[in-house]
């Protein structure tokens, strides 16, 4: 029987039920949407984490006589392995151009098969091609040996009687080839500059046997650490079979590694290059979850408060109804049972609606890639994660209903019957948080946490090597307190302000809305609790949407600036090594869309002291027009603060200016500007002489040049290529005798479409003319290595934006419709006393205007503050710390307009409801 009564209780007032269900569905929906989004994103984490890894696994032979050529086919039979390429590695003692007597120091030879170049995207041939009967030489070796395609070179190996000669068939770029140098021992990774690639067949015919013999009896002339012969299998696994979760993927990869070793017991030791990326990915998963939940949780809390708010709006009449039941003889146990069962009905209904809403929200807002991972029919759909997230969201709905709908009613059972039946306004004590000034306490706690963090050096990435970023939970303590404190403070201020402004509000609305406005103003002031609660919910929702838009725009802008820093400008054009360039080559690159071009020369073999360093030569006038040079890159080298930082090896440099540093370089022909890192290392200050040894390609000798330090920088365009020493180009070319540019930077109007067009035009222009590499900011943005920053923040932001608009508009609708519903009797009495429909509508509009205007104003201000806080806290995800907020003006305006339209529609719909008010029926309401 209780079930039937409870069901009737739910059905009795469909508007009340629907309003509560809707509020609950919004809360559960957003929560579910965020959980599903996190699940879907995590499913991509493995792919993202291992994307930069170009060589999955290397199995090193434990002895030189292992036949990797035959082992390859066995390895390929292991499930999960796509291909296994046999590779022989051996260090040669010296190499010389045929006909020259003087050889150069040792280097490394790799013997590969033709299919290797298709299997692994490691080697980038910049000239010629791979001929199994020839040699592919590294660019560094081509420069040092002055080699061209067609030249013949002679190799000498320790323990091999005769030198071997091969023609140079091509030149290869080794920028992505670091994995080739990983040793069989963890951590062993010595990169060699002079590298040669030959065919496996040729190697087997000419070198395998002698090197195996030499390995059995190592010659005394062998250099320490040199490799006599290291047979290897380079293994590519089937990445599509890896689970989306990096933790599980790491286990599977480890299992594959053991499978390989198991098939060749004692013969092969496999080194897995994926584990490091997956471990970093695991950390990124946790950071992503923390980040998304942090960004999404306030929205969920707001929606939950909206649901509670919707329940409280009906609390008055529900208490009177239940009080009536008690007067008619229902026991507290019976009423408790009724309310509990009806609450369960509401919870189930609202949570189910919420789950559906969450799925719809994610599908609409997330990118195609994320949304498709929600397809239950797709292979690999993670039912366990889906069930887990759905259960969590469902449980949240149950808890919310318990707190919002059941608990207040249950507590009311303790009150006297007559008090519950009283029709008039209840006077309640101020809530505990207001009396205890919890808003002030929370804000103070936020400030204290921020101060403590700053004293400890501020927010720093705490990730392990390879991990893009680690966001520890403490980073969110300050904003969590700030958010709680702000919420309560807004509630206090709005409530206090409205409650004290009875006469002013009455006067303002009296002027705006005539006679009924006076009454409306008093009503708003004396119902400050309800009005301030509605205002706070909507204002905070708006602020959340604003702050997220600001953060996303800043993030997108900083991504672009990061990419400009990596590329150097909008486009970097790198012709192949040793290609001839006419003097006007730079002007040939000034195609439509290009605003300016600057050529940069580079010496990767320069020596500073005894260490090799890369030195760049720039043409200051064209460089400052073309390259990306924010002042934040430079420091004031003469400032005592900078001198102290250099001396003490801290990072507290005095801010400098790009134009000042470049002016100094331009004004000093032999000037050099240096990175702060190198300045600290070599103890160089501005004004000091700096001796460099530049490699002259014509004489093949080093030339010692005296330069003068004229400026310091923290970052320099293209410094991911280790540009720590920058000279004037004219000075550098005069010393090196080499006038060709290593690469060119091109500046456009910055529009992505223009950048892409320039890149593709240049690529097709030089396709059959010379080998070139073209890198644009768009390439970098699309293929950036950081898996956390490449996560779909855009999808989350769209979800939050939809939510902001929904809650802002519908939050007002819930308040207004609830007001119409719950004050039917009051409106009926007004009509009975002679108020017309216009009076009632103006009454409603007054409340809507108050909530709308206040929430928009507060939402905007708080949104900017929260946005600044988010950017400050999450600035660690950017390579270059952001200098300020970027505001998407049009999008913000658009959101404001949509919210205004939503609020207006809500007000109009609520006002229309008043037209259907039947006075006689309304006066019969409890």
């Amino acid at each position: 029987m209780n079930l039937a009564y409870a069901w009737r209780l739910v059905r009795r007032n469909p508007r009340r039920t629907f309003t509560y269900l809707f509020g609950l569905a919004l809360a559960v929906g957003l929560f579910a949407g965020i959980l599903f989004f996190v699940d879907a994103t995590v499913r991509q984490m493995t792919t993202l984490a291992i994307a930069p890894v170009r060589l999955d696994m290397v199995a090193h032979a434990t002895t030189p006589d292992v036949n990797v050529l035959s082992a390859a086919s066995t390895a390929e039979s292991v499930p999960g392995i796509v291909s296994a390429e046999p590779v022989y590695t051996a260090d040669y003692a010296s190499v010389a151009k045929a006909g020259q007597s003087q050889g150069t120091p040792s280097g490394r030879m790799f013997a590969i098969s033709l299919s290797y170049l298709q299997t692994f995207d490691i080697l980038q041939i910049s000239q010629g091609g791979f001929d199994p009967g020839g040699a592919l030489v590294s660019e560094a070796m081509a420069v040092s040996q002055n080699l061209r395609v067609g030249d013949r070179i002679q190799f000498s190996f320790s323990g091999v009687d005769h030198p071997l000669e091969l023609p140079v068939s091509g030149i290869v770029n080794m920028d992505r080839a670091d994995p080739l140098f990983a040793g069989g021992v963890e951590g062993q990774n010595a990169i060699v500059a002079d590298v040669v690639f030959v065919g496996n067949t040729w190697f087997k015919a000419h070198l395998l046997a002698p090197l195996q013999a030499a390995a059995a009896n190592p010659p005394t002339s062998l250099a320490p650490g040199a490799i006599i012969l290291d047979p290897q299998l380079h293994i590519k696994i089937d990445r599509s079979q890896l689970p989306g979760d990096p933790s599980l993927a790491a286990l599977q990869v480890e299992s594959l590694r053991r499978s390989i070793e198991r098939r060749f017991p004692g013969q092969l030791k496999a080194v897995d290059n994926l584990s490091g990326a997956l471990t970093a990915g695991k950390g990124d998963v946790l950071s992503a979850k923390i980040l998304f939940i942090f960004l999404g949780l306030p929205g969920v809390a707001l929606a939950a408060y909206l649901s509670k708010f919707a329940a409280e709006l009906f609390a008055e009449s529900q208490r009177r109804e239940l009080g009536l039941l008690r007067t008619r003889g229902a026991t507290p146990a019976q009423i408790t049972s009724l309310v509990a069962i009806s609450s369960v009905f509401l919870a189930i209904g609202g949570s189910v609606l919420g789950l559906l809403f969450g799925l719809a929200l994610l599908t609409i807002s997330a990118g195609q890639q994320v949304a498709s991972s929600l397809n239950p029919l797709a292979p690999g759909f993670d039912w366990a994660a889906f069930a887990r997230s759905s259960s969590i969201a469902f449980l949240a709905g149950l808890i919310l209903t318990f707190l919002a709908a059941f608990l207040p009613t249950f507590n009311a059972m303790r009150n006297e019957i007559t008090q519950e039946r009283r029709v008039t306004r209840r006077t309640e004590a101020a809530p505990f948080w207001r009396r205890a000034y919890l808003d002030v306490v929370a804000l103070a706690a936020a400030v204290i946490v921020l101060v403590i963090i700053n004293f400890n050096g501020g927010f720093k990435p705490t990730g392990t090597e390879g991990q893009s970023i680690a966001l520890s939970f403490y980073i969110f303590i300050a904003p969590l307190f700030a958010w709680i404190g702000l919420t309560l403070l807004i509630l206090r201020l709005v409530h206090g302000g409205l409650a004290r402004l009875t006469n002013p509000l009455s006067g303002i609305f009296g002027k705006m809305l005539h006679e009924i406005g006076e009454v409306a103003g008093k009503s708003i002031s004396r119902r400050a609790s309800q009005v301030s609660a509605a205002t706070t919910v909507i204002a905070l929702t708006l602020s959340f949407g604003v702050s997220l838009m600001l953060f996303q725009q800043t993030y997108a802008h900083e991504k672009y600036l990061d990419s400009q820093y990596v590329v150097g400008s909008d486009v970097r054009f790198t012709p192949a090594l040793n290609t001839s360039q006419k003097a006007d080559f730079a002007s040939q690159l000034e195609i439509p869309g290009v605003q300016s071009v600057t050529g940069v020369t580079r010496d990767p073999q320069a020596l500073v002291g005894s260490e090799q360093n890369t030195v760049y030569g720039i043409d200051v006038p064209s460089f400052r027009k073309t390259a990306y040079l924010p002042d934040s890159f430079f420091v004031d080298g003469s400032s005592p603060k900078t001198l102290a930082a250099l001396r003490d090896h801290t990072v507290n440099f005095a801010a400098g200016s790009g134009s000042q540093v470049l002016d100094a370089l331009a004004g000093t022909p032999n000037g050099v500007i240096i990175s702060v890192e190198q300045a600290q290392k070599y103890n160089i200050q501005v004004g000091d002489p700096v001796l460099l040894r530049l490699y002259n390609r014509l004489t093949q000798q080093y030339t010692q040049v005296e330069t003068k330090a004229v400026g310091l920088f923290i970052y320099f365009p293209t410094s991911d290529q280790d540009s720590d020493f920058i000279l004037n180009r004219s000075f550098m070319t005069s010393q090196t005798g080499y006038t060709a540019m290593s690469f060119f930077l091109l500046k456009t109007n910055g529009q992505p479409a223009t950048i892409d067009r320039v890149g593709s035009t240049l690529a097709s222009k030089y396709k059959d003319v010379m080998p070139v590499r073209i890198k644009t900011t768009q390439n970098v943005i699309k293929t950036e290595s950081s898996s956390l920053t490449s996560l779909n923040l855009g999808g989350l932001g769209t979800m939050e934006l939809i939510y902001t608009v929904l809650v802002s508009s519908l939050g007002l609708a819930i308040f207004l419709l609830a007001m119409v519903n719950e004050r039917r009797r009051e409106f009926g009495a007004m009509r009975a006393l002679g108020a017309n429909l216009g009076h009632l509508r103006r009454f409603l509009i007054a409340e809507a205007l108050t909530i709308g205007v206040l929430s928009l104003a507060i939402g905007a201000v708080v949104g900017v503050l929260l946005g600044a806080l988010l950017v400050t806290l999450l600035g660690v995800v950017f390579t270059i710390p952001p200098q300020g907020l970027s505001a998407p003006g049009l999008e913000l305006l658009g959101m404001g307009i949509v919210v205004l339209v939503g609020m207006s529609v809500s007000t109009l719909l609520s006002a229309r409801r008043l037209a259907g008010l039947k006075v006689a029926e309304a006066l019969r309401d409890l």
């Binding site: 008039t424 306004r425 006077t427 004396r526 009051e826 009495a829 002679g834 006689a920």
Partner: protein, 237 residues
């Protein structure tokens, strides 16, 4: 039956007044063919068992509800010919309502509640305030003018309701069980106030009541049963 044209003292008439409600698939007749004529200044009590149609009758007379058939004539004007807005204006200018549960606006003080009907009619604020205070003094609540309804007793709340009803009642005062929620002593006081004020202002008073002691003060008693007018016991005052 005399009408307004024949007898200007006739302020209110109902002609074959019928009201039916749809409850699910069934039709419930709350009033059937009720015909009454009321003259200016009369105190008419409407009595009958629960559910006999008393509140329905008074709602129809006040224009708060529409009849299924029949007419309500107020000073010869057929209320069914008026729009909702015209009815609201009519109530604003002619009628006062005293509700069973006073229905004071909880966020307005006693004075502001009484001012409400005056505010709807327009007029300067000081005039409204003075009139409201005058009405409150008539019901003996001058010292409670700035109190909110929750700060008043049930009897005081109902007296404020009476003062509010008098604010715009120029010809008719409708009271639907004004003492239903009061104890007998308070009820006696409230009814006395109501009748006294109605007489002083020469208002026509229609009052729904269960209480025979209250009805004893009336000039006429209309007895309703099952939606029909059982008797119209006219008495001379």
């Amino acid at each position: 039956m005399p009408d307004f044209e024949q007898d200007p003292e006739v302020v209110l008439q109902t002609v074959n007044l019928t009201r039916e409600y749809r409850v699910g698939r069934q039709s419930v007749t709350a009033l059937e063919d009720v015909e009454i004529t009321i003259r200016q200044g009369e105190f008419v009590a409407i009595m009958g068992p629960s559910g006999c149609g008393k509140s329905t009758l008074i709602n129809l007379i006040g224009g708060l509800d529409s009849p299924t058939s029949g007419r309500v004539l107020l000073k010869g004007q057929d209320l069914s010919q008026l729009s909702e807005e015209e009815l609201a204006a009519l109530r604003r200018e002619n009628m006062g309502f005293v509700f069973q549960r006073h229905d004071l606006f909880p966020v307005l003080t006693a004075r502001e509640n009484v001012e409400f009907p005056l505010l709807l009619s327009g007029g300067p604020a000081d005039h409204r305030k003075a009139k409201a205070e005058n009405l409150l003094s008539m019901v003996g609540l001058t010292d409670k003018a700035d109190h909110l309804p929750e700060e008043l007793s049930a009897g005081q709340q109902q007296r404020v309701g009476i003062a509010r009803a008098l604010a715009n009642a120029s010809s008719i005062l409708l009271a639907d069980e004004p003492t239903g929620n009061l104890d007998s002593l308070t009820a006696e006081e409230v009814v006395s106030s109501l009748i006294d004020l109605a007489q002083k202002r020469k208002l026509t008073l229609l009052m729904v009541t269960h209480d025979p002691d209250v009805a004893a003060h009336a000039d006429r008693i209309l007895q309703l049963k099952d939606g029909r007018l059982l008797s119209d016991d006219g008495r001379s005052s």
